[in-house]
Symmetry: C2
Subunit: 326 residues, 2 copies
């Protein structure tokens, strides 16, 4: 069977079957971040790559923004598990014809994100190749009984998201239509990893499960549900959408809700909180200066059901699959 | 200026200038392995990628061998600094048209190397793309005052290599000529990381500096000399060459010495030992079941001089540069 038929998540499943779970590994394949024992604490390991033509197009993103984003997508995984980013490695595939100046700007973008969020470049690799590729591996630190995984959600937990959703997906559409600037485009090109929020959720033992929204709310929620062996109700009227997204989407004849549900790359956090613990969230939101919105609840029936104003509805939603390409 | 003009090592120099050395980093950019403080010990971080058309050609290496080699080139870096490999991440770029079966074999090769040398896969990333690429990041463990770097060689130290050199380079030539099997081809396709040797050298505080030979003896030695701010004399008649390499090279009208000096991918260790400590090496060689040969000595004049049977000679030697392509 071809990879495009089994898809990215089918591939990951098969890799898990080959490898199983190793010794000293608290969480590994199937999570965005691997958690391994180290002394009294634990180490967090994550890797994400961006490759030209799949994750970005060079004429739509500056080299600086590309470097920034390549590190941020990794930082965002550390954020989701409540960890602290420490050290990273950058492996670069680049055309030998490229000017050093543009590569310098890529590394300056990487450095800006590293400096901003406390991560240090310590090594990597370089090779020539046709498709510009940044493959980053990031090492973070966590406290063992604090780390948040995908697999801890329990029936009755409330489901929350940070910030607003759909902005980045719409920003990409605007870029493809020739627009250059604005809030939505900025959200697509220069995402923010929610590290402070992730740390607070972990430190206070507030989140039972978490993930960063890289592939769309529905798809990323389904990862939590699968790993936690639970289902959920999602209340679509509660999904937070920015005014900019709503207005611009409507001007373009697009459904902002659909962008919010299936558009990826917002790098907001999606997390579940045990009933009774919700009251602390307002304080956390204030502290982290990011809105937090309740969008649903975890159920014991293992399916994801969508509701709009209390009524069950059916929507065909597909997140992004990097092997299928849609 | 274009990257092909500044080359791989010029690029690394420039990246070093941008980033400097971070806090808690005992060794970083400029080494194959980054060493960072962690509790009483230290963590070792390394990344190496293999990409189709640059590091391998799919019709000359089986998927299993490719997986094996992709992990081994990383393990070899951990070997050179005397560390213990622990956990790794695999980021894969692959054509969506590829059959799962062949990808399965790649991961089985990775798993075989991981199982053999004690490293566990804990995560990674996957994306579609034209050029099959395996980007691996490996985390290892070291003991702080044992870790061997490139930068510790001192004038008067003796220079040693493990095993024989030139085998892998000649194996590649044979593959390109249509041969399929044999010792030399095996050396190219299925290298061995010298982890036990590296550990013994570290544990006994025997090596003052070390590197694995991935780009050729002369080029890799020059990295040690540069980082240690020293020079060296290399005695060419002492460079260890296998009978297979010598015979096959001569049959093809090639100079086996030149293959040994500039042919990369042998993944043997090149290391320096303080005078007086040489006597322990025989025991180490026996224990690790690998020959160790003295090939030169470190000098205070910062240049590399080549000698053949006691006479200084001049040879144009170039190692491999992954950006220049030669």
């Amino acid at each position: 069977m071809k990879l495009k038929e089994i898809g990215e998540f089918g591939l990951i499943e098969r890799i898990r079957e080959i490898f199983g779970k190793g010794e000293g590994v608290l969480a590994g394949l199937g999570e965005d971040v691997a958690v391994v024992k180290a002394g009294g604490g634990c180490l967090l390991l994550t890797a994400d790559l961006l490759t030209e033509g799949v994750h970005f197009r060079s004429h739509l993103i500056s080299p600086f923004q590309l470097g920034w984003k390549a590190l941020v997508v990794n930082l965002s995984d550390i954020a989701a598990c409540g960890g602290i980013p420490r050290y990273f490695l950058v492996s670069l595939i680049v055309e030998p014809e490229r000017e050093w100046e543009s590569v310098r700007e890529i590394y300056e973008g990487i450095k800006a994100a590293g400096d901003r969020y406390g991560a240090t470049l310590v090594g990597g690799d370089t090779s020539r190749g046709e498709a510009l590729t940044l493959s980053i591996a990031l090492l973070g630190e966590g406290i063992r009984d604090e780390v948040i995984l995908r697999k801890g959600a329990r029936p009755g937990d409330q489901i929350y998201v940070s910030g607003t959703l759909g902005d980045a997906a719409l920003g990409l559409r605007l870029l493809l239509q020739g627009k250059k600037k604005g809030y939505l485009i900025e959200r697509h090109l220069s995402p923010t990893p929610r590290l402070t929020l992730g740390r607070e959720l972990a430190r206070r033992h507030l989140a039972t499960a978490a993930i960063d929204i890289s592939d769309g709310l529905v798809q990323d929620l389904s990862h939590i549900l699968k790993e936690s062996r639970v289902g959920a109700k999602l209340h679509l009227e509660r999904v937070p959408i920015s005014d900019e997204c709503r207005e611009e989407a409507e001007a373009l004849g697009l459904d902002p809700l659909r962008l919010a549900l299936s558009g990826g790359e917002d790098y907001e956090l999606l997390f579940t909180v045990a009933p009774g613990d919700e009251s602390q969230l307002e304080e956390v939101a204030g502290l982290c200066r990011v809105p937090i919105t309740r969008v649903g609840e975890v159920t014991s029936e293992r399916e994801l059901r969508l509701f709009k104003d209390g009524k069950g509805i059916s929507l065909e939603i597909s997140g992004y699959d990097h092997l299928k390409g849609s």
